[in-house]
């Protein structure tokens, strides 16, 4: 039985298979409409995340399966003090596969150790969010046709943003990727990631101004400055508007550059960018459903 805890749990060859399957689902949705008939997905969300939860629910529903679950810790047995280990043992009796989000880092791994069914980490604190990374990779691969030889700019909260950390870790496995990190001093990429890039001799640059690097980028990955990652409101208000992508900045970019964003966006991408053909973030949300469908099929051995 396999679980998904980190995007690195799959080899690049396994990811290729997963993405091929996701692309086939995209092209032939009818073929998969009953692939999970009679199967149940449990969405165990100990903290609110409408988007990820609905994406999982949509994925399972589109496969013909059904969904049970809870969407915040208050409405689950965790409020009564039940451990994650006990909860997953019980959920294993009710469902065939589980997607778990938890504010504590490593909680889905604890669940996977006690579980009788595959567990998907749907986000654990600031640690991992592998299905977002799979979504990002599938989007890049589907829209460009490959996962190597490009320059990607990552912009915004690079210190606390787990999606950014996971994406970097996943991309370093492909050839000739160059990173440009665009952030304020306070929100720079953590040292351990910089150390890893140096060790692997991967080219990177850290800059403060988005405008300076726009012409170099093949992809721009925008992120939100998340309020909940800050301990005081003042810092949040001071930093949140630093990096706003608008039509003026887009005018500096290559014609085939693509803008990605894990969503939800607050104001870091101006709505005027939405109509630009290079804005790929809503398409990315669509790929999120396809990749979760492919993942559910793969972990249930139905692929």
């Amino acid at each position: 039985m396999r679980h998904l805890m980190s995007p690195l749990d799959f080899t690049t060859e396994e990811l290729d298979k997963l993405f091929d399957l996701a692309n086939d689902i995209e092209a032939n949705p009818q073929k998969y409409a009953h692939a999970c008939d009679g199967k149940i997905l449990a969405t165990c969300f100990y903290e609110p995340s409408t988007r990820t939860r609905l994406s999982f629910e949509s994925a399972m529903t589109r496969l013909g399966g059904r969904v049970i679950g809870f969407s915040d810790a208050g409405s689950s047995s965790a409020a009564k003090g039940e451990s994650v280990s006990d909860t997953i043992r019980v959920i294993s009796c009710y469902a065939d596969i589980c997607a778990m989000r938890h504010p504590k880092e490593g909680a889905p791994m604890v669940a996977s150790e006690k579980s009788g069914i595959p567990v998907i980490n749907a986000g654990d604190g600031g640690h991992q969010h592998p299905t977002q990374t799979l979504t990002d990779l599938l989007t890049i691969r589907s829209l460009k046709g490959h996962l190597d030889n490009f320059t990607i700019g990552l912009c915004g909260d690079l210190k606390f943003g787990r999606t950014v950390h996971s994406l970097i870790n996943a991309l370093v496995r492909y050839d000739n990727i160059r990173f440009i990190f665009i952030s304020p001093e306070e929100l720079r990429v953590p040292d351990y990631i910089i150390d890893m890039l140096k060790e692997k001799h991967i080219s990177y640059e850290e800059v403060i101004r988005l405008e300076d690097v726009m012409p170099q980028l093949d992809f721009l990955y925008m992120t939100r400055v998340q309020k909940e990652r800050f301990f005081n409101e003042e810092d949040y208000i001071r930093l949140k508007d630093f990096y706003i992508l608008n039509a003026d900045k887009m005018a500096l970019a290559k014609e085939d550059m693509l803008v990605l964003h894990p969503l939800p966006r607050v104001n870091e991408i101006s709505v005027e960018v939405d109509n630009d053909p290079r804005a790929a973030y809503f398409k990315q949300a669509q790929y999120g459903v396809y990749v979760r469908m492919a993942l559910i099929l793969t972990l249930l051995d139905l692929a």
Binding site: S83, V84, S85, P103, E105, G106, M109, V110, D124
Partner: protein, 146 residues
């Protein structure tokens, strides 16, 4: 000069940093063993000035000494059989350490799930970096002292 007699079978852990022998005693869980243990504190040492020594009289297969490498790999481990040193053990960093140090990341699941063991894995043998199995937080010297 204090004299502690020879042991027939067991271990002599030499060159322990002065004052650290009780930490080692605890990590090796010697309190749980029904055997003779001599703790020598602040012994004179040409190399170190002062050092601690632990002598443990027991079956040589009884102790898991891997954890010593993690605590302090300058410790010399002498294996004794029939009153003689039969081996000087090289300490190798263990791939995994269980319940020796605690994860201090307040966001880690180990901070709330009480029965969970605190497991760290060797993430980088060259730099001797251990990370929490669950949250991957790097352990620091300050965590080691606790």
């Amino acid at each position: 000069m204090l004299n502690v007699g020879k042991i027939e079978e067991g271990f002599v852990l030499d060159h322990i940093k002065a004052g650290k022998s009780l930490d080692i005693y605890e990590h090796l869980q010697l309190d749980k063993l029904d055997c003779t243990v001599a703790i020598i504190k602040n012994a004179r040492s040409n190399k170190m000035g002062k050092k601690d020594i632990l002598k443990v009289e027991c079956d040589i297969n009884m102790l898991d000494l891997d954890v010593l490498a993690f605590i302090d790999h300058s410790i010399t481990v002498n294996v004794i059989k029939n009153g003689e040193i039969v081996e000087k053990k090289d300490l190798v960093l263990p791939n995994q350490i269980k319940n020796v140090i605690k994860c201090h990341n307040p966001r880690c699941i180990t901070s709330i799930e009480q029965e969970l063991p605190h497991i760290f894995y060797l993430a980088d043998p060259e730099k001797e970096i251990y990370r929490c199995k669950y949250c991957e937080e790097k352990y620091t010297e300050s965590a080691k002292k606790d």
